[in-house]
Symmetry: none
Subunit: 201 residues, 4 copies
DNA sequence: CGGTAATCGAGACGGTACGTCATGTCTTACA
DNA sequence: TGTAAGACATGACGTACCGTCTCGATTACCG
């Protein structure tokens, strides 16, 4: 959404909340079913029972609409994962739900398309990171911070690198599909992350 | 390429090697300069001085043409990296040239586009893995095999996982751009891979 | 034309009269200059300063566009020819303008192309007859009706056959070009038509 | 191929005459079935079991090939119609077989296409007239000459005009399809031609 | 309570790429 | 040497989508 804030008094006809919901819902359904490239703005407009101009009034680009639609459809739990008492447990709790969501064929296709879109439009890249990357990394940072507080890992741990060691391999298998992204692999990756952090001690 | 083998005597007019070279070269240049989506088949045909029908005779899809063009333009050294005597050195020698190549803005954009394309067309995905993923992983397997032979790492090391621990974080920063993909990070990732392999002992 | 009537309030953006005029004009010019087969839709679009999609939105086929364009460019006088007081005079007044128009090289070529098109597409054939054949035959029927009213020819005259006796030979020379379509021939044909009608008395 | 067996038996001089026959036959079948525009040279070559180059060696153009193919397939009786003793009978005998042949849907379509082609290529027009128009007109001239000899019509009769009065209306209904081309109409046209010739006495 | 202003639907528009197809030419291997 | 196989340049075809635009019809608030 461009501006959810409505603190300032607007003059004309207010924005139709119905239309907005219908657009996001239609876009989400079409995106999951057909992917980004195969989802046309005309199709979104038609399915939402809305004019194309209405969509373009609020979202300047198909990519940004997709971003909002997917955020709206996916991001059900803004709060971080539950605490388990150990770094290993926290990391698994952090990563497993994401793997479950991202492994569906539709999601995988979309994730790849969003990443590709981000290479082409810097503005889109920023929005993508803000919406999809940062929240999860923020949760990850908390997890590592708790581990530091518990004195489980050194305070000097480079959390940013650790997060890449954690998420990188998962994304890798997800996008390349050269090997299965199963829970075995998830545990291996978490284990490796722990090992690397411990070795840096 | 459709058929590199020409041991059998073909009947009609042979394929024009000039045209093929011109097409691959034109496609490569345009791809690097404009990216996959912004490279049109018409433009490739015109720049190659070739008819569009000729392109479509040999490459059924823009994606597969791009694959061949990039393979042709990039893959200069089919042999693996030089041996350094240590796993750490070998891994750095394996990864650094790839990082250098893939970090150029054009390459990054293209890599993302290829990955996105692969989610949509299973046939393309297979070709992509065969052309771009497997060769590098094969080199990586040799590197780890040498380390085993040197008794540097356990023989039971799961090489496939190790390769994902190595390449995954690099791809991650490359595609998401949330943090720099510099040599510092490369060394960190190699170090982490070593730590994880060592810890599994 | 698709919809000449516009008395009902339409919802969306109204059709651009400018674009429509430009398309018909461009098509007409190109058709007269190059003929039907050598006139491409791309060329029409470019010359009209219009997108190809706009043309295809309103005319499903090149043939139907040609029909409208030629009707628009040629059919200047919807009213019938002037009355001369005699069947002979009326027939000459009916036929001479048509011969003058149709004898130009461009027109001849186009007429033949339209007739050929009509053999292939039944829908086109109907439109062709409605636009180009029927109006002229209607005028002819009036001419013969007046002659009957003047008691110049029998009331039982088969007007449809008479019209074919009149137009048939003219079209024949026009399309086959085996002999000149001059005013001498026009007078001969009118004379023969009169003789045949009189002999049936 | 007409007969591959006999063809394989002979070694040195392959089948130039065989190929020619196969080409004409294949072209004729395809033309009658699909029309001129929908018959491609590739299709003719494939059906004839012949290379495209072989076709182009003998016929410079698709139109001229069609001309020969149709002439070969249709023109079964080069001799004129039988003599009946009266001009009326001779004209009917001249015209009825042609009407029967030309009325088939395939023929009608082709005739129109040939006429259209003739407007575009002067060389084709000449060949068309020589092959298809002149022979029939020559027969017609003989018919009228016999009538003059029998003193049935004046010696000063303009035969060229008379032939147009005869064939023109028939072609007209054939190509425009605004009214049926049945035997009733044929008799009316013959009658009208006779009346016009008699009236000129 | 009427004016003002922004919204919405419908959908036409310019632009551009797609992948297909046909024509007529040209190049090789074979017989 | 002619023929079959078939690659080639050229260029039109009709479809699809994008993002912009022009309407007339709705809502609100504001004076």
């Amino acid at each position: 959404m461009i501006d959810t804030v409505a603190d300032e008094r607007r003059r004309g006809r207010p924005r139709s909340a119905t239309a907005k919901r219908a657009i996001l819902r239609a876009a989400f359904d079409l995106l999951v079913e057909h992917g980004l490239a195969a989802t046309s703005m005309d199709a979104v407009a038609q399915r939402a029972g809305v004019s194309k101009a209405t969509i373009y009034r609020w979202w300047p680009t198909k990519g940004l609409l997709a971003l909002d639609a997917l955020y709206d459809g996916w991001e059900t739990s803004p709060r971080g994962p539950r605490e388990t008492g150990s770094l290993r447990g926290d990391l698994l709790a952090l990563v497993r739900p994401w793997v479950r969501l991202a492994s569906a064929p539709g999601s995988r296709r979309l994730l790849a398309a969003l990443i590709a879109e981000a290479q082409r439009h810097p503005g889109f890249a920023a929005a993508y990171r803000e919406r999809f990357v940062e929240p999860r990394r923020a949760h990850g940072r908390e997890v590592f911070a708790r581990a530091v507080a518990r004195d489980e890992i050194p305070a000097a741990t480079d959390v940013e690198v650790a997060l890449d060691l954690l998420y990188g391999p998962l994304y890798h298998r997800l996008l390349h599909g050269h090997a299965p992204l199963n829970d075995r692999f998830v545990r291996d990756v978490v284990q490796a992350t722990l090992a690397s952090v411990a070795a840096a001690r």
